[in-house]
């Protein structure tokens, strides 16, 4: 129909999800980072019988990873 004429924007390399989608993506990376590496750290804690130090390191690592992902995937417009 008449308004089908929008410039095609999909599939390009610099395509990032817009608006709300971008927000949810960033949030889910930050939380997922802490959860995944926190969980791995917790497993290491159980394995080595340490009391939570590996969990802490894991959560910090995961935070860093989450931030790297947000910057890499959402923060660099090409």
């Amino acid at each position: 129909m008449a308004d089908d004429q929008k410039p095609p924007s999909a599939g390009g390399p610099g395509d990032v999800p817009s608006g709300a989608g971008q927000g949810w993506t960033a949030l889910s990376y930050l939380i997922a980072g802490m959860l995944v590496w926190g969980f791995i750290g917790w497993l290491v804690d159980r394995w080595l019988d340490t009391s939570g130090i590996a969990t802490g390191i894991g959560i910090v690592l995961g935070m860093a990873g989450g931030i790297v992902l947000v910057i890499r995937k959402l923060g660099t417009p090409e």
């Binding site: 999909a10 599939g11 390399p13 709300a20 989608g21 889910s28 860093a64 995937k73």
Partner: protein, 265 residues
Amino acid sequence: MFGQVNVLAQGQANFPPSVEDFYLPSIAPWGAHNSYWFTKITFMVWLAVGILILFFLLSYRNPQLVPTKKQWFAESIYGFVRNNIAVDMIGHQGVRFAPYFTTLFCFVLLTNFFAIVPFFQISPNSHIAFPAFLAIISYLLFNYVGIKKHGFGKYFKNALIPPAPWYILPLLIPIEAFSTFLVRPFSLAVRLFANMFAGHMLLLVFTLGGFAMLNATALLAPVSVLSWVMTIALTFLEFLVICLQAYVFTVLTASYVQGALAEEH
């Protein structure tokens, strides 16, 4: 209905509402306990499906160049989802997903909307099974679309390996896998479920709380009016949440499909 008010006025409804209040008595067999094959919830889901099928069939049965009122309404809904969700998020090729997004949007909107329709007053989406199943469909859709476009290997390579130097990849790949393939369907389902659950709970608390105060002491009785005014205000808030959640669910599905279709990162 007057029976219901009587029950409430005599204070027979339990005041702090609980999860039990979400499990309505069975319709067939009538009034049976612990039988959930056909309840009000089931009825509402089928009703929503029926209304949507009938509405779109009837409004498109005899399409006019100058649309009739019904046709105009159906076309505006479809146009809104196609232009503002499908094309906006995915781009030109998003048009082929517009029918699914429209169906999804209308179904979620209508089932959510039952939460504030008198006599229905509960949304099927306040039971996690329904949002969960919708999330599973969206999950299968975006994975299928991605695999079909890129092939199995390339799709997972695209999805799992972010643009980053090799030495931080081991840190990033588990996060990517977790957030793409586990968090997405889960958060999609939980977001819709929790919003509808909390909305119903709030309305229950303020409605039943009004009756509880009315029955408590003479001093508290006038405050119950305040509680019911709050119920009315919250109903409007609910309406906002209903529309917003239907929109968010559809937009996020579109955003996942877009992510699956995107070439490289």
